[in-house]
Point group: C2
Chain length 168, copies 2
């Protein structure tokens, strides 16, 4: 999100005329601040933005990180299984994998059982990058969330979001 897209809190530098009191009056959010979907999306953008910033030295997006995590936890799976688990459509998963493979973070190996499918595995470098990424995520990203919400707050939030994601 560009600077000019930052919401609400942007005090436009113009019109110093409205000296003390008025200050051009901020736009009222009104019932929008009670719309869960609205706040949810706003929070999600903020969290992704921070994730990107924290993992910037490793050049990993949230989606790429989630793929590496899944490959680590599920060796020997094919593209369809990993893509489905992440809610990514197979066609769109191809270029994502291309990118990871071109950076030598994972490899596609033709399966011996079913020569149609590609078995996915992390490379050595993939394991190393994932390990460093995890450290950054825990020590910087999630740590900041813990600081803001408290450990129990974070747990409660995670539980409610999981409930929505699974049961809603």
């Amino acid at each position: 999100m560009a600077d000019s897209a930052k919401p609400v809190s942007r005090r436009e530098g113009r019109k110093e005329a409205a000296v003390a009191a008025d200050e051009t009056q901020a736009v009222q959010l009104g019932e929008l601040s009670d719309l869960l979907g609205y706040v949810l999306k706003r929070a999600q953008l903020k969290v992704f933005e921070d994730f990107l910033h924290c993992v910037a030295p490793l050049q990993l997006t949230p989606a790429q990180f989630s793929v590496l995590l899944l490959l680590d936890a599920n060796p020997g799976r094919n593209q369809t299984e990993i893509a489905n688990t992440l809610g990514i459509l197979r066609p769109n998963f191809v270029s994502l994998l291309d990118s990871l493979e071109s950076r030598d973070l994972c490899t596609r190996v033709r399966s011996a059982n079913d020569r149609r499918s590609h078995i996915l595995m992390l490379t050595e470098k993939g394991h190393a990058v994932l390990a460093r990424a995890k450290k950054l995520v825990v020590s910087k990203h999630e740590a900041r969330l813990n600081e803001l919400l408290g450990p129990d707050g974070r747990e409660a939030l995670l539980a409610m979001l999981t409930k929505i994601a699974e049961e809603f």
Copy 2:
């Protein structure tokens, strides 16, 4: 999200061979289920999907609904102010407004003070549609969230998300 994109819970109809026990073993989410950003995004998609479904009779997207809400709460504002408040870039706000205006839900009026800017206002039809949309959102969408989380759970969730959106 298409059917084929539905995460995890998709038991592929193939291979009845794995009769009772094995069942091809589900892919393990692993540490992904503790990643707040991941669950946050998943929950957000679910909530938007439900919103879209609940307001389908009025053909309003979350973004369009939020614009109508803001125009109602802030009559007499121009495009830049409304767009900034919603975190929408001015260029992208133009077509959004075009769509609403072509449906006679709002109007652009040249300001008398500053003939560069367009004052935005809801039309009569806009007010009516917004009123009906609000009813649908409250009675169907938010009601379902209340049912899932409980009134206090929903409040707590809203509070934490707002905190993230504003202070993170």
